[in-house]
């Protein structure tokens, strides 16, 4: 099922991100997904060598999820493949019946666990979206015809809603919409006021936006994100909240509470929520329940 159809129906879409293992044993991931996410989220978003760390492929993982009756979202970055490989993977996704895409530029190879690798960036997120649109129109990026009925996807993209240069991000968002992006998910949001302001400006593009949630696990993680991850600012009060009751934070209760609160505060301004649990998939049902979803 395409996310775009759900947005059109006015549904509040809930997705959760999972990262494939560094290895090919997928039983644990499938178990987590079946136990905590199935029937609770609309779709499961599979990262593509997230943070440039080499892992099992997103496409293969998507197929495994589909076989279990879930709706996968295939993430695709421009970092590791040139346009031939990207187009080929898109066709492979179509053949496997995968209908949802999330199209990204990707982190630089230097950020990951194989920093010696050549970063490809033959395309970037905007030209990648444009490329998928061309495939949907029945031709490849170079204008050569595809055989048979062209594929059709729901094309997603990302935007940093709380970036310190949100206007630059909005300009890029506009370019993505013009290139064919049909829905967006945001980088983690910890400042609802900033998000609401962002949504006021993003409204003009007329595309659904999903609020990005990264469950804050502890104060150390929050500080790490503040120092190292672009577009994320965990406010000091929230860090204090994570510090206050160590046991509660350790049990994940504080992270769940904060996540649910953020969703509640932002819900009426957006069309869905995207949870990046980073291994805490087991907390997702609690978050959704507390947020009233």
């Amino acid at each position: 099922m395409k996310l775009t159809e759900l947005f059109q129906r006015g549904e509040f879409v809930v997705t959760c991100e999972v990262g494939p293992p560094k290895g090919f044993h997928i039983e644990h991931l499938l178990h987590e997904v079946e136990t905590y996410l199935k029937d609770r989220v609309t779709a499961v978003n599979v990262t593509d060598n997230q943070s440039s760390v080499m892992r099992l492929g997103s496409l293969a993982t998507c197929k495994a999820l589909k076989d279990k009756g879930l709706t996968p979202i295939f993430q695709l970055t421009c970092r590791d493949r040139n346009r031939i490989a990207l187009q080929s993977d898109i066709l492979s996704a179509a053949m496997l019946g995968i209908e949802n895409l999330l199209l990204l530029t990707g982190d630089h190879t230097r950020m990951g666990d194989n920093p010696q690798a050549k970063p490809v960036f033959d395309l970037d997120s905007v030209s990648l979206i444009h490329m998928v649109k061309k495939l949907e129109q029945g031709e490849d990026l170079a204008g050569n015809a595809l055989e048979g009925e062209p594929p059709k996807f729901a094309k997603g993209a990302v935007v940093s809603a709380c970036s310190d240069s949100v206007d630059v991000q909005l300009a890029k968002m506009e370019r993505k919409v013009k290139a064919g992006a049909e829905y967006f998910q945001t980088q983690a949001v910890y400042e609802p006021e900033k998000f609401i302001k962002f949504m006021e400006k993003a409204k003009q593009f007329g595309v659904p936006v999903m609020l990005g949630i990264v469950i804050p696990k502890n104060a150390g993680m929050a500080k790490y994100m503040n120092d190292n991850v672009a577009g994320i600012n965990v406010p000091q009060e929230m860090i204090e909240e994570l510090k206050k009751d160590k046991e509660k934070t350790k049990a994940g209760i504080t992270g769940v509470e904060i996540s649910a609160r953020l969703i509640k505060e932002c819900k009426q301004y957006c069309q869905g929520v995207h949870i990046m649990a980073l291994g805490w998939e087991s907390k997702v049902p609690d978050i959704l329940a507390q947020a009233g979803i």
Binding site: S125, S127, I129, D164, S165, Q169, K178, V229, A230
Partner: protein, 209 residues
Amino acid sequence: MLITQLKSKDTIDTLIKGKTVIINCHGCKEVCFPEHEAAELQKELSATGNIMEVITRDYICNPDNLRLQLQKYMAKINASDIVMVFSCGVGVQTVAEYLEDKKVYSGCDTYPLPGFQGVTPLEFACGQCGECYLNYTGGICPITACSKSLINGQCGGSKNGKCEVDKDMDCGWERIYRKLEKMDRLDTLNYPAKVRKFWNPDADPPKVD
């Protein structure tokens, strides 16, 4: 338009295993060569007793010139095991071809030197990308000013105006946006999705005025 940099002492030590003749090339104005550091290193190497001769010449990349320049050293070169060249990659290849039976090694790594055009050092870098985007980007080159050479705008990695790859480097797209903003030319960014053409010099003419 290139720069040579000495390989590490360790690397060079592992290469110099026998009687060695060193050839330096200092001739060419287009190459930025670490003369001083090379001289220091070669002094150190001389202490090993392996160095038979240090020759410093110019334009060794020119085969005819090279032949003439090396003439009076040929006896020593013939008697040596290794010829170690400190020059750009072109110079090393010329020597290796000329002394085809010798072990010819390079003491340097060669990089393109952005900001050189002819013999004039300039502040700006051009990646010679084949389709100049400067008309879209307020005159700031997105190929060399952005770590990912993005041509459709900023990635999500910029923080406090700095690049995700190198925190000491300003994000090129932040600079482009701010400059266009200042010039009241943000509408320039409304160009249709651009796809880079890596091997096609006949790129679309820019449609921006």
